[in-house]
Amino acid sequence: MTDPSVNPDTSTPRRAIDVVNASLKRRYAKERRFRLLGATAVGLGLVFVLLLFADIVGKGYTAFQQTYYRLPVTLSADLVDPEGTRDPRTLARADYMTPIRQSLRQLFPEVKDRRERRQLNSIVSVGAPQLIAEAVIANPDLIGTTSDFWILADDDIDMLVKGYIDRNAPESDRRVDDRVIGWIDRLEDEGRVAKRFNTIFFTHGTSREPELAGIAGALMGSFYTLVLALALSFPIGVGAAIYLEEFAPRNRWTDLIEVNINNLAAVPSIVFGLLGLAVFIGFFGVPRSTPLVAALVLTLMTLPTIIISSRAALKSVPPSIREAALGVGASPLQTQFHHVLPLAMPGMLTGTILGMAQALGETAPLLMIGMIAFIVDVPGGFTDPATVLPVQIFLWADSPERGFVERTSAAIMVLLAFLFLMNLAAVLLRRRFERRW
């Protein structure tokens, strides 16, 4: 305290209020500056986040729609089901491309040249027959009739219809030439071209054809990985935290362990991938590119986060709770599990969810354990080959086809949505169960 009144040695005694007044303006200005700086920092951050979101959404929203042609397709019985057994296996294998091509040929009778015909056939996706097969299996009565089907368009046509191909560019510089544009325009005039909701994107695994590529495989891979990682890391992490915080003696060993846990939280994630490759795959022979090995690696990666947040949650439970429990005769174990743990649980869950969100977005360690793979089939278990969402985004971003640009952004949107949901859950949990002492 520099109160001049208690300091009789000062030659010119000044009142405290003068000193305060003299510097008041400067101090207010300082505070205003600091607030302004803070607001600018937050504002800048928001601007960049908005820019990022606008860019991703701007590029990706078109991927949720897909171009289809409405074509009358005649499914003659001798092509689709020659024996008339209606056996789903025969129906799945039947040739549906020929009826589609016949339909196109009827719509464009003037296309006679073999080369031109091939070009006409190529406006339909190679995956279109599969969609008809699914419809026929669901409703075998379609056999022998002519009905309008929505036929999936090729990715180049899809890009054209969505306006990603510049029609004014010289013909040689376009992936779609004038003749094909003419056909598409004619189909559009007849009302046969439509953009429909892209269900394939959510129900199929990946593909080399953009129009057939979906994120279901990656989503299921992420799901299995996270479920297993949660099942492993939560009990281990919470157990370790309880032991270290409540039971372990304080000595050099526990100090060393604590330092190491904090250290591990800062280790680059790729290191965990290398460890996983050497230990889980190399030594224990866990199969590569499976959710199982991914979950083991991600467990190692998230454990420090969970342990640290769980310990913080345990620390925030006041000692009076423990003392009261012990005082009425509870054993230390009962004290922990009946009283302390329930009170610390919201904090632990928040930490765990944040750790899981981090694991969901992680790519680097998974590169080492064979997750950068092309896997068409949607995984059905923990040991099926699988890939995860961020790796799928990485693979699509690296594909030359134009159609993958929008799909990459769309996959990022899905990943962001899941991250947002998880973080929201963490915030809500904290709000709902948090106790202030």
Binding site: G285, L292, G370, T383, A397, D398, P400
Partner: protein
């Protein structure tokens, strides 16, 4: 509740590990990221048109692929590895030591590397020597020694060129495209100097350092492994050039144009007939010991080497693979489909 969950997870994991070790019904492919787009296209068609499961294709890079492939015989090891270069003698020996005796080598086609710029600017006509002079770390100083590359603009490289700053976006050293570019383009230009050619005999490592060294003073910009990104950056920066695979040029002909190299434009035909100088061959290798144990390997090889896949009109051509000449294709298809084992490469 939690206990049962853990117990369930553990038993499930244990049970599924043991079943996995017994059999595998899908082909397992590893290897080069350059062959990855073609291999996956074949894998997908193969899965769709046959009764076999769709193969699993992992992108590990050529070297990583050989390492996994040569680790041994058995269901845990891959059946096929893709490569953007031939197998080395040392890698072949490793394979032999691990019991991988019979290997079928299949050359599948060519991959061109294009040096492209934005359509809004003029097309460059470069020689390999000019590329070397523009991008090398050290160039001959004319007195028998070497000096750090002084060239700042294309005009410095060749007086006929405009005063544009040298600004080339390309892949980082970890990329196979970069290796191939250094080997084919830089070394090709480097050899045109008699002084360096003489160096090859005297000091091989110095020769390699000079020929493969790419400048680090900002004229060559490492733009990451993502070729799409390079294309986007070129479109917004007309004065820059970019180095990337031909398939990306093929998909983006409305935005970028490939520079002529030694007077030859990168097109499907010039790469296929070998006249475009910056191109390399792509391969895959089959582990013969797995044929018969893992279902579908022969059929996969047949699919890859069928005209509808790797032919000039096939679906791989759409993906950017450049087909081999007709005669070579026919003879390779024969050795591939009969799974004739290769001898040790030099």
């Amino acid at each position: 509740m939690k206990k049962t969950l853990i117990a369930a997870a553990v038993t499930l994991a244990a049970a599924s590990v043991s079943t996995q070790a017994m059999a595998r019904d899908s082909i397992y492919i590893v290897g080069s990221s350059t062959v990855f787009p073609f291999s996956t296209a074949v894998a997908e068609t193969f899965g769709r048109t046959t009764s076999f499961a769709t193969p699993k294709v992992e992108s590990t890079g050529s070297g990583g692929g050989f390492k996994l492939f040569c680790a041994g015989v058995g269901v845990d090891h891959p059946d096929i590895t893709n490569a953007s270069r031939r197998m080395k003698g040392s890698e072949f020996d490793k394979c032999q030591e691990a019991g991988v005796k019979e290997i079928t080598e299949v050359k599948v086609g060519f991959d061109g590397i294009s040096v492209a710029n934005s359509k809004t600017a003029g097309r460059y006509d470069l020689t390999l020597r000019e590329l070397f002079l523009a991008l090398a770390k050290d160039i001959p100083d004319g007195k028998g020694g070497f000096m750090p590359n002084p060239n700042q603009t294309w005009h410095d490289v060749n007086p006929d060129f405009p005063e544009n700053k040298i600004e080339v976006l390309g892949p980082p050293p970890t990329s196979g495209t970069r290796d191939a570019f250094a080997e084919l383009a830089m070394e090709g230009g480097c050899k045109t100097f008699p002084q360096i050619k003489a160096l090859k005999k005297e000091d091989k490592s110095k020769y390699k350092a000079v020929c493969h060294g790419i400048r680090e003073d900002g004229a060559y910009i490492e733009a990451g492994e993502n070729d799409n990104l390079i294309v986007q950056k070129l479109a917004s920066n007309p004065s820059a050039l970019g180095i990337f695979g031909f398939s990306f040029l093929d998909q983006n002909t409305d935005k970028v144009q490939g520079s002529k190299i030694e007077g030859i434009e990168p097109t499907y035909d010039t790469i296929s007939d070998g006249s475009y100088p910056i191109s390399r061959s792509l391969y895959f290798y089959v582990k013969n010991a797995h044929v018969g144990t893992i279902p579908g390997i022969e059929e996969y090889v047949a699919e890859f080497t069928s005209e509808k896949a790797w032919g000039p009109e096939g679906y791989l051509a759409d993906k950017g693979l450049i087909a081999l000449p007709d005669a070579e294709r026919a003879s390779i298809a024969k050795t591939a489909q009969s799974l004739t084992p290769m001898s040790k490469p030099e």
